[in-house]
């Protein structure tokens, strides 16, 4: 492979790579604002100017193609002078309002000002005034004065969202960004511009002014909005999720996620409709009870039905670990083969960027770990039919709202003698349930999802429940979590009494005389890995932060079985 020298270090590069790309692959970070690995090169910020031997002027590392034997200096006097110059220029008209800026703490301009700036400005003139608080669209707010005109947002709309909505207008230091006449920036991916904006010029209307970045913990997880399984970070303060941001995974979602996933998939976690502790219906009302009482009640009532009268419905919203125990619970504890999960398909949601018509994060996983009818068992539609015909009298339903999904089912489910439900929030199905177990949300547990493409990915707890403590569980912690005292406001966030579905099943089974010896989700996964071909030889560490893709041939064989 051809080689270039960066600051005396010999590094290999692939033909056609630019200096900045070659450096990045070798772990050398050349400062950049406008350059983004997934966008075209615009070369306008000039912070990546570097000295290259035999070139008369400094060149920008983002657009200069690496050539064999090229000698690049990223720390030479000339390079540093140019970098300082660019930093000084960028800051002269910048409002320097970091104390009230949402971006502070994750701002490239702020970071570089510390890293590459001389620390004082010689600028004593009046700054340029521009428009502030301009809604570019329903979900993104623009501050013209903070903008450094890097054009990342413009290029994102053109190249990734494929919906050109933004443009520069005016000239010189009056340049600003606006939407084309008659356009608003409302493409389904619009909020990604907030992430790629290197400064605080573009802010998320749902999140702005909610928290300082350093007050929140970030936990690597997976979006549950559709079967793509975009990699995300969950940002939590005071045990409350405040925002989601996409996390880079080139083979799943690159740097992006859709606005729907970002906005509509986390608010239920801290919602007032969360179910806190188990409930049993007594005299028509759901009444809060302890876990032991709920287990005992569920156990005794389930035992009153013959095996063939019970059906179990797993969930494509739950993890593989959850579903694996649901399947084993159905087959080994209840002894029924009437087992399935509900598909949530919405073709209108799908596009050719990220969004999939399957609106659940784990339907492939649920299927793979065994949530499907046994040989003579009933599938979902047949179960519903059997309930209406009173052949099925007890239904064990996990993490899904059947009635919300299909209102006509309400009358059918009313015919059941027993409806046991695991649910995170109150919904139309819990309204008629006899026993309700409070389930932890995807943001409160460990586990795995398998996306439409066979990519196994991990979720981790970001919010603590009564049973899961931040420090003890090794959850991501913010400065406040670490250094706050228990008298601080942020230590007083609400913790719900909820458990992951696999743990609820395990507890109930134990009362019913069947012992699953799992203490952690990871142990459940170990059994999945040894029992199911698609997961063979895997563990949480191998899946890691970027996921593990099941071979298409293995997957195909297993699904056909």
């Amino acid at each position: 492979m051809p080689k270039i020298f960066i600051d005396g270090k010999e590094i290999e590069f692939k033909q056609g790579q630019t200096i900045i790309e070659a450096a990045k692959d070798a772990g050398i970070d050349i400062p950049h604002f406008c350059w983004h690995p997934s966008l075209s090169v615009s070369g306008n910020c000039r912070i990546c100017l570097v000295e290259v031997e035999k070139m008369p002027k400094l060149v920008i590392a983002c657009s200069t193609i690496a050539a064999e034997g090229m000698v690049v200096y990223t720390q030479s006097q000339k390079t540093l002078a140019a970098r300082n110059a660019v930093m000084e220029f960028l800051l002269i008209n910048h409002p320097l309002d970091c104390p009230i800026c949402d971006e502070a703490g994750e701002c490239k301009l702020q970071d570089y000002a510390y890293e590459h700036s001389i620390g004082e400005s010689r600028f004593v003139e009046e700054k340029v005034k521009k428009e502030k608080r301009v809604p570019l669209g329903p979900r993104v707010m623009f501050d013209g004065e903070r903008c450094i005109s890097c054009s990342r947002c413009i290029r994102f709309c053109d190249e990734i969202a494929k919906d050109p909505e933004l443009t520069f207008v005016q000239r010189g230091d009056r340049v600003t960004i606006t939407t084309y006449p008659g356009e608003v920036m409302d493409n389904p991916y619009s909020m990604n511009v907030v992430d790629i904006c290197p400064v605080g010029a573009l802010t998320n209307t749902d999140f702005r002014f909610k928290a300082r970045v350093w007050e929140m913990s970030a936990t690597k997880s997976i979006c549950n909005g559709c079967a793509r399984g975009c990699n995300i970070d969950i940002w939590v303060r005071n045990n409350e999720i405040l925002r989601l941001t996409p996390r880079h995974n080139e083979s799943v979602n690159s740097y992006w996620m859709c606005d729907h996933g970002r906005l509509n998939t986390f608010k239920f976690v801290n919602d007032s409709s969360r179910i806190d502790s188990p409930h049993i219906r007594k005299e028509g009302q759901l009444v809060k009870v302890g876990w032991d009482e709920a287990f005992a009640e569920a156990s005794s009532r389930l035992k009153s039905f013959s095996k063939d009268e019970i059906a179990v419905i797993g969930s494509a919203f739950a993890t593989c670990e959850d579903n694996y125990l649901v399947a084993r619970f159905a087959k080994s504890v209840l002894g029924t083969g009437h087992l399935d999960f509900i598909h949530h398909n919405d073709p209108s949601f799908e596009d050719d960027i990220l969004r999939r018509s399957d609106r659940t994060p784990n339907s492939l996983g649920a299927k793979l770990v065994g949530v499907r009818p046994s040989k003579n068992g009933l599938d979902f539609n047949s179960i519903i039919k059997a309930i209406s015909e009173r052949r099925i009298k007890a239904l064990y339903l996990v993490e899904d709202d059947t009635i919300q999904n299909d209102p006509e089912i309400e009358n059918i489910l009313a015919k059941l003698d027993l409806l046991v439900v695991h649910s995170t929030n109150y919904n139309k199905t819990t309204d008629i349930a006899d026993i309700v177990f409070p389930a932890s949300t995807y943001a409160e547990k460990n586990g795995t999802f398998v996306n439409f493409d066979g990519m196994i990915q991990r979720i981790k707890p970001a919010v603590s429940t009564l049973e899961a403590d931040r420090a003890l569980e090794g959850m991501a912690m913010s400065r406040l979590d670490k250094f706050g005292t228990r008298w601080d406001r942020w230590a007083q966030g609400v913790k719900f009494d909820a458990r992951p579905t696999w743990r609820i099943i395990s507890g109930l089974s134990s009362v019913m005389g069947y012992k699953f010896k799992y203490n952690m989700a990871e142990e459940v996964f170990k059994d999945i890995a040894s029992g199911i071909t698609s997961f063979n030889h895997l563990d949480y560490d191998i899946i890691g932060e970027q996921g593990f893709k099941i071979k298409a041939s293995v997957l195909e064989k297993e699904i056909l079985e």
């Binding site: 090169v41 615009s42 000039r46 912070i47 220029f89 010189g172 009056r174 340049v175």
Partner: protein, 440 residues
């Protein structure tokens, strides 16, 4: 001396007059030769670009790929946006056919089928004049498909005028191409250069109007003839647009290497009231100025001006007499580049405004000696760090004016400005509350 571009022939802009004076014979001659022969002759003639950079024309043509499956284009730059420059419009008005003929020959040489003439929108009158000339050339079979018949060749090409919308930056070749494509006038990052990736991504050659107008004469009279005119390393004549404090401002066609003092005193009639010259900008406002006491012996060609620390630019000579307020001149120049900076890249976008603000503050009597150093360092921070040459265009006049007239500028600023607060501007505001009045 023979004039190449603006000969003293009455009504030469009319096609009949042009033809009766041997017009379009050069094109006829060109079509008997191969394109490579034409490029070779232009190379040997030593013709250098007249748009400012004085790049060797034939060499530029030779960068065009010989084999490509894409169309090739010729782009003729008539944006003429450099302040102090007003020569191309003389060609449009008085000798448009020579440029058209040059365009045809150039198209043939580089293998282009289409030539665009990009003219600034403010040149409405000259756009009409050139359009009339192009229409006449079409009607007489010198341009378009009929060329085949007229010249007995298989080659033909078209010429279109594209009107600019009033941006200095669109005189920069890559923003000119973007503008022509209907995009925002932003310069492109180079490389790739126009010969590889020009208009609509196709191989393109961009030449100045005056450059192209020279081509027919080189073909007609031979490269040796041309190369013997003026300075050997920058041969030919130049259209010097002389303006400012001279008795006879105007466009003078003179051989390269003419003495600057001759241009001012012999041709432009000297300075009104015999005042002394304080400063001369030799090639449009972006070129480094020359002190009035250093004019003796300065010759006007690319090589000689380089020796005295300036450049030929577009040959727009701006003369300033001893009563000129150079600070105001420089502030006005800085204002222009601030106003015209496209705003794409950081140093120029932010730096040009800063320069203007400092100069305006000096004019307002709030400047100090340290501001002169600040001007020079800010200019240095712009220079060389930008996408296009506007960075240099904005930085050079400030840097060199302050450096070369340091004594003059020092008289216009105080040794030290003591202002009640660190931020000088805040202290200048009428509304600012005096610090003494602020009670704890």
């Amino acid at each position: 001396m023979e004039k190449i571009l603006l000969p003293d022939i009455k009504n030469l802009h009319l096609i009949d007059v042009y033809v009766s004076n041997g017009g379009y014979n050069a094109a006829k001659k060109a079509f008997t030769q191969t394109p490579d022969d034409i490029i070779d002759q232009v190379k040997k003639s030593g013709l250098r670009g007249r748009g400012g950079a004085a790049f060797l024309c034939g060499l530029k043509w030779s960068f065009m790929p010989k084999t490509t499956d894409k169309p090739k284009y010729l782009c003729i730059n008539g944006d003429e946006s450099e302040p102090g420059s007003f020569k191309d419009r003389q060609i449009f008005e008085f000798n448009p056919h020579q440029m058209i003929e040059g365009a045809i020959i150039t198209c043939y040489a580089i293998g282009a089928k289409t030539a665009y003439v990009y003219i600034r929108g403010e040149y409405h009158k000259w756009i009409k004049l050139l359009q009339k000339a192009i229409d006449d050339a079409y009607a007489n079979g010198f341009v378009g498909e009929k060329m085949k018949e007229t010249f007995g060749t298989n080659f033909f090409c078209d010429i279109f005028i594209h009107k600019g919308a009033g941006a200095y930056i669109c005189g920069e070749e890559s923003s000119l191409m973007n503008s022509l494509e209907g995009k925002r006038g932003y310069p492109r990052v180079k490389p790739p250069f126009p010969a590889q990736n020009g208009l609509w991504g196709c191989p393109t050659t961009i030449n100045n109007v005056e450059t192209i107008a020279n081509v027919p004469k080189i073909i007609e009279k031979g490269w040796e003839w041309f190369s013997n005119i003026g300075h050997p390393k920058h041969p030919g004549t130049l259209l010097f647009g002389v303006s400012g404090h001279v008795n006879k401002p105007g466009v003078y066609e003179l051989p390269t290497g003419t003495l600057l003092t001759d241009i001012i005193y012999k041709y432009a009639g000297g300075v009104p009231n015999n005042k002394k010259v304080l400063c001369v900008i030799p090639g449009g406002t972006s070129m480094p100025p020359i002190r009035g006491d250093k004019l003796e012996g300065v010759r006007m060609d690319a090589e000689s001006l380089k020796e005295v620390g300036s450049a030929i630019g577009t040959g727009g000579v701006i003369v300033m007499d001893e009563d000129t307020d150079l600070v105001k001149v420089l502030a006005r120049i800085a204002h222009f580049y601030h106003h015209e900076s496209c705003g794409q890249c950081t140093p120029c976008r932010e730096g040009t405004g800063w320069l203007e603000k400092i100069l305006k503050r000096i004019i307002a009597g709030k400047g100090s000696v340290s501001d002169l150093d600040l001007l020079i360092t800010v200019a240095n921070q712009i220079e060389g760090n930008t996408i296009c040459a506007l960075g240099e265009a904005a930085a050079w006049p400030v840097k060199f004016m302050v450096e070369r007239f340091r004594d003059y500028f020092e008289q216009r600023v105080s040794k030290e400005i003591s202002l009640p607060v660190a931020n000088k501007v805040h202290s200048m505001r009428q509304t600012a509350v005096p610090l003494a009045d602020v009670k704890n």
